[in-house]
Symmetry: C2
Subunit: 254 residues, 2 copies
Amino acid sequence: MATGRTHRPANRSRGIPEATVARLPLYLRALTALSERSVPTVSSEELAAAAGVNSAKLRKDFSYLGSYGTRGVGYDVEYLVYQISRELGLTQDWPVVIVGIGNLGAALANYGGFASRGFRVAALIDADPAMTGKPVAGIPVQHSDELERVVRENGVSIGVISTPAGAAQQVCDRLVAAGVTSILNFAPTVLNVPEGVDVRKVDLSIELQILAFHEQRKAGGEAVGGGVLPQTTVGRDESTDQGPDGDMPAVMPA
Amino acid sequence: MATGRTHRPANRSRGIPEATVARLPLYLRALTALSERSVPTVSSEELAAAAGVNSAKLRKDFSYLGSYGTRGVGYDVEYLVYQISRELGLTQDWPVVIVGIGNLGAALANYGGFASRGFRVAALIDADPAMTGKPVAGIPVQHSDELERVVRENGVSIGVISTPAGAAQQVCDRLVAAGVTSILNFAPTVLNVPEGVDVRKVDLSIELQILAFHEQRKAGGEAVGGGVLPQTTVGRDESTDQGPDGDMPAVMPA
DNA sequence: CCATCTTTGTGCACACGTTCACAAAGACAT
DNA sequence: ATGTCTTTGTGAACGTGTGCACAAAGATGG
């Protein structure tokens, strides 16, 4: 604390690695838990264990933020909570709109992790007129027609899409046109956005498929599937039992 | 270059990169859509555009599976669908249990992307006795007491946890003890599992925080309360993502 | 059969991410 | 103060992922 004082732009210049950014929320969660237990300081080793990462990685991650630790002691929990929150932009209020209030949209609206992190559900939007006015998580659902107005009036810059895949691109376009520049997409489809707009996707089906891959490998790589299968015109085999809808609905249209 | 048998199965030996595995479901989705439109072949360029990735990356990814394309022509859609499905282990049936039938659990149970990919919801489990017997997505919810029996009787190896954070570790332990070796965790907590068990996590709050970070950066680091940001000329030289995709996996291996 | 054209498959270079291992910084006891 | 002990911060090695650019493979037309 003596020397460095606050200004320690170490690596802080303007480049925190993406991989590090993705872990900051993880650290923040662990630190918040410690804070609630009134733990004053924590070592990189302890915190790393709590966050489920390797301690060297954690120290390197923190080094991108600056030198906030004390050698021989560890990190001040409260201070670190503040620094990470600030770095992530959680010290400001982020109004969010959720579009597509099916099962998933409702789950998101009810999710406590939002409010506790500076995210505020500014509006719930659904295309189904039958949903309009119906309260979900205490917030009345609004019709899609209101989308642009809601975004503008609330200064929303983050939108969450939990519609069926077929509607996602259109919703995305409207959100972007209205001023949204970050989108969290739960619909199983690739979204095209103009430059400057960030999209992150969460695809439940993809996660399961990745697990299946590893599961299959564990179960004895060569067991199922019939081995090599000479080229031949594969034509059809029953394997393509793809339903008529593929993987379309992310949530029930309600 | 591995040794020996340099014939058909090129790099297929035993090492498909994780990053490639994570993209296979993406390709599969795009290919399935093409298949439904009866498109016979597709070039790496077209398919890459549909999947939202770079074509060189796609070709390299496919090269790990083997040489399944025809130069000057492209890839046979049906054949590739089969090969990727087989590689991912989707040609077999994967019974899945979902534990924690709140809003999110219900959304998952209703999610169409599961059934259409070889995943079958074998059971829904919830600790609340008031839920027992109540049908969700056409499947009656069973009480937690049934967890072990259900896993054993159905040969379930993949479990989905959508409980509150406080219950997740205990549920995880029971799933693992009963024989589950792959877990998809939606609870915002780090799960400890014995070696040999795969965990993938999806944390909605974390995704939003990552978006907030980039959003803050876009806003010039200036504290931007509300109001609409003028669509600044985002022509950043950052050479940002080409695709609409932040590219970081939505979840990370635990 | 030869020429030409298209598109794959991949060598290579580079960027990014992870981990090791250790010097330096500081706390603390004597 | 001095020495010892703990823990950070980071240089360097290593591993993984990405993208360019091009030779090779095969189609197609004459």
